[in-house]
């Protein structure tokens, strides 16, 4: 039996190969469960980026508003911090739900998120003494943006360009 016979036999077997195979385990219920947790993502492949953009614009808007108020009258920095935090938490939770079943590119991303949480707490502690300190507010905004960017980045696989 020579190489030509092998090539011919291989080709015949590949043509006859049944491409379909049924899994032994029932898979749909797991898929369905994952879909329930991400109901609005179909046909919106760039929704995460849009979220981040909207959040960024909103944060810049809020900080600009504070700058304006600082120049015009006595500001209420505590309210702004509360508003920034609430908006960030909402944004963060939305992303975490969206990506909860998607594999992450790094295994320690949650630790990195936790470190940024600690930074957030430290900045907020400092802001309690100086609620109108613009540098601290911008730092808080920066930490929030880093967290959103991190969650986005670790859940964006290379093949997403398909």
């Amino acid at each position: 039996m020579n190489k030509a016979d092998f090539e011919s036999d291989l080709q015949q077997q590949l043509v006859a190969l049944n491409r379909e195979k049924q899994p032994e385990r029932e898979l749909w219920s797991g898929i369905e469960l994952a879909l329930v947790n991400s109901p609005d993502v179909v046909n919106k492949p760039k929704s995460g980026k849009i979220y981040a953009l909207v959040a960024g614009v909103a944060l810049i808007g809020l900080v600009s508003l504070l700058s304006f108020h600082t120049a015009q009258k006595h500001p209420n920095g505590s309210d702004l911090i509360a508003s920034l935090s609430a908006q960030h938490q909402q944004q963060k939770q939305a992303l975490l739900v969206q990506f909860q079943d998607q594999p992450a590119l790094t295994s320690n991303w949650q630790e990195q998120v936790a470190e940024l949480d600690k930074a957030e707490l430290a900045i907020k502690a400092a802001l309690k003494n100086e609620p109108n300190n613009m540098a601290l507010l911008k730092l808080l905004q920066n930490v929030y943006q880093q967290q959103i960017s991190l969650i986005e980045r670790v859940h964006s696989p290379k093949w997403s360009q398909i």
Partner: protein
């Protein structure tokens, strides 16, 4: 029925099938989960079959197939109908499965070159007369198997495989040659 009429009927049926499939895809793209379940039922055997040949492991293949359908829900909006849906789906499946496989194989696995597939033991228990080509394919070492499946069965060029598997084009060709040498030996053509 005359042959030309039969041809028209076949063509019409083919067109109808394509249209109904496109309708189904459009429904899924619009967020219809019942339509997605139908699409799943239509393609799960193809997707799992490819996952199994790429991973050579039933459990990994089931997990990978599940991952494909979870991510497909998010990605199906990218399908514009430029190519056959099954072709597009096979590309998505291949990429997700390779990525999944890469995550499952740790650093130690790669460094120690533990390439033998779990299917080796399954094959050893079968007599040679009952062994089919798929049993041989899943017995191939991992890199040789990935290249063989993608090139010989799925029809990708080595340049495409190199990108998908993150290996050089030359390595892809070498792995394909290795796969064929092993198959030749196992199939008794020495």
């Amino acid at each position: 029925m005359r042959l030309s009429t039969l041809g028209n009927v076949v063509a019409a049926e083919h067109k109808f099938a394509s249209k109904s499939e496109m309708d189904l895809i459009k429904a899924v793209q619009g967020g219809d989960k019942q339509a997605y379940h139908k699409l799943y039922q239509q393609y799960i055997a193809q997707v799992y079959g490819l996952c199994y040949r790429l991973t050579a492991d039933k459990s990994l293949a089931e997990d990978a197939a599940q991952e494909v359908f979870i991510q497909l829900w998010r990605k199906i909006g990218n399908y514009q109908g430029d190519s056959k849906f099954s072709t597009w789906l096979h590309t998505v499946t291949s990429n997700i499965t390779i990525s999944y496989l890469r995550k499952q194989r740790g650093w130690l696995y790669r460094m120690m070159n533990f390439e033998d597939s779990p299917a080796i033991n399954e094959l050893a228990e079968e007599s040679s007369s009952t062994v089919d080509i798929e049993s041989y394919i899943v017995r191939l070492p991992e890199r040789a198997r990935l290249v063989f499946v993608l090139h010989a069965i799925e029809g990708y060029r080595h340049e495409e495989i190199a990108i998908m598997t993150n290996m050089a084009v030359g390595s892809s060709k070498a792995q394909f040659h290795r796969a064929k040498q092993l198959l030749q030996e196992w199939m008794g053509y020495e």
